[in-house]
């Protein structure tokens, strides 16, 4: 019985997402607070393009480094947006993935972006590759690739391990910019005091970039808020019923 309730709840949540999206319609901002790390990212992308520098995007390593992590998907809009804005720039963004499926997905994202801009010749496969098969070798690869002079910033998003503080420190020593949005709590605890553009916990899912999927991302954040409020109300009600021995 309990399991059936869960399945029904999942169905209702999916419907809620569609209803909220229809409700917000074309409203791109949807009265959502801007996460300062991602606000800064947009500023950094344009700034780097002006200065002719390159942005290194790390999509994180996979779980047990062999398969796709759902949190890695969140960074793909940044790949598209950076590629679009750097169309005329001389330094294209460098995308480093820590698992094979994410590397393939970032390559597909790049080709479609350049094909959409009628500039498929700008697509180079070496701008997006599978950087390291274990999370430590991924860390070493990001540090090695971040050494290049033309790099101006580092954006890490997805399944990021605590040792990824090393490339953040390397970028910090080169007076470049780093923005980190990690899903591991241990990483958040280590990055939070050492990097001022870092997200904590659920803020990672607040990554809404001005792309065509922004309305759906805004609707998702509204759904998360709604679920949060329902959970708290349900929790308090259940506790009261439990205290009175009803449930």
């Amino acid at each position: 019985m309990n399991e059936l309730l869960i399945w029904i709840a999942l169905g209702v949540v999916s419907l809620l997402l569609i209803i909220i999206k229809i409700g917000t319609g074309k409203d791109r901002d949807g009265n959502i607070r801007a996460i300062i790390a991602f606000e800064k990212l947009e500023h950094v992308i344009s700034k780097l393009l002006e200065n002719g520098k390159r942005l290194v995007i790390g999509l994180g390593s996979g779980y047990q480094n062999s398969l796709l992590s759902i949190n890695g998907i969140i960074g793909l809009p940044a790949v598209k947006c950076t590629a679009k804005q750097s169309l005329l720039a001389d330094e294209k963004p460098l995308i480093l993935s820590g698992d094979g499926s994410l590397a393939s997905m970032s390559q597909v994202a790049l080709t479609e972006t350049y094909r959409g801009l009628r500039a498929i010749e700008q697509y180079k496969q070496e701008n997006s590759f599978f950087a390291g098969t274990t999370s430590m070798s991924y860390t070493a690869s990001v540090m090695a690739e971040s050494h290049a002079k033309e790099n101006g910033g580092l954006f890490l998003v997805g399944h990021i391990r605590p040792e990824m503080l090393l490339p953040v420190d390397l970028v910090h020593n080169k007076a470049s910019v780093s923005i980190v949005s990690a899903d591991e709590p241990g990483t958040q605890a280590v990055i939070f005091p050492n990097c001022d553009s870092a997200t904590i916990g659920e803020e990672m899912y607040g990554f809404v970039l001005r792309t065509e999927s922004q309305p759906w991302l805004t609707a998702s954040l509204k759904l998360q808020d709604l679920l949060r409020i329902l959970i708290v109300i349900g929790l308090v009600a259940a506790i009261i019923l439990k205290l009175f021995g009803i449930i």
């Binding site: 309990n2 062999s66 759902i70 998907i73 597909v108 697509y123 098969t133 020593n173 939070f192 506790i239």
Partner: protein, 229 residues
């Protein structure tokens, strides 16, 4: 023979450790050498392991040893793998979206099932269960420590949940802030989240400390072996 092998392994290990710790002096040639070596060795090993332990048993063995029936059950993954191989050539990289769609569908479904059955329901159920009168009142006198623990737990969870609230207030008086109630709870939630992150920071530091101690111990043993004592 064994001692010489140990000496060689010890020497390689000592040199690599020094190359990595040379980063303290700044990002230098030796550090990047060690980084790239790790990338090469790890990818070579993973490639060999995936071919030996996955592609062979999951794809090649059914085709070679199995009959007509096995071919039917293996055709779909074989086709998908060929499309993925086509991605190696930039011109065909769009073909890869079919197998990736299959992967994304599976991982999305498992994420939804795992998150709801493995985290949301049990964690919320435990919070409610901690207010079970049987557990809070032992005999006639209430167990004040348990009651305090349960109350703090609920306050901590609710306030730290509202710390992440995304929606801004719709009232004209404070258009750029979150609703006042949520803002107040978020401030309390910050304390609980700060405590958790502080505990995690201590954990990560002590794990890294043990790794550092093991590297220093290994270097000490090698230096002593070098000088024969």
């Amino acid at each position: 023979m064994n001692q010489s092998v140990d000496f060689i392994i010890g020497a390689i290990s000592f040199i690599l450790t020094i190359m990595v710790f040379s980063y303290l002096l700044g990002d230098n040639f030796f550090f990047r050498l060690a980084s790239y070596l790790l990338v090469g060795v790890a990818s070579g090993y993973t490639a060999a392991l995936l071919i030996r332990k996955v592609i062979e048993p999951y794809l090649i063995t059914p085709i070679i040893q199995g009959g007509y029936e096995q071919w039917l059950l293996v055709i779909f993954p074989l086709l998908m793998c060929l499309l993925l191989i086509a991605m190696f050539f930039p011109r065909f990289s769009r073909l890869g979206s079919l197998p990736l769609a299959f992967l994304a569908g599976i991982v999305a479904a498992l994420t939804i099932v795992g998150v709801s059955f493995g985290t949301l329901v049990p964690q919320l159920g435990t919070l409610v269960e901690s207010f079970n009168p049987d557990g809070l009142i032992v005999g006639a006198n209430p167990n004040y420590l348990k009651i305090a623990d349960a109350v703090i737990m609920v306050i901590g969870v609710v306030t730290s949940l509202f710390y992440f609230h995304f929606g801004l207030s719709r009232k004209k008086t404070n258009p750029e802030m979150r609703p006042k109630l949520i803002e107040a709870m978020a401030k309390i939630g910050q304390v609980f989240i700060g405590i958790t992150l502080g505990a995690l920071f201590a954990g990560v530091y002590s794990a890294a400390l043990l790794a550092l101690i093991s590297r220093i111990t290994m270097s000490r043993d090698f230096i002593m072996m070098l000088f024969g004592s």
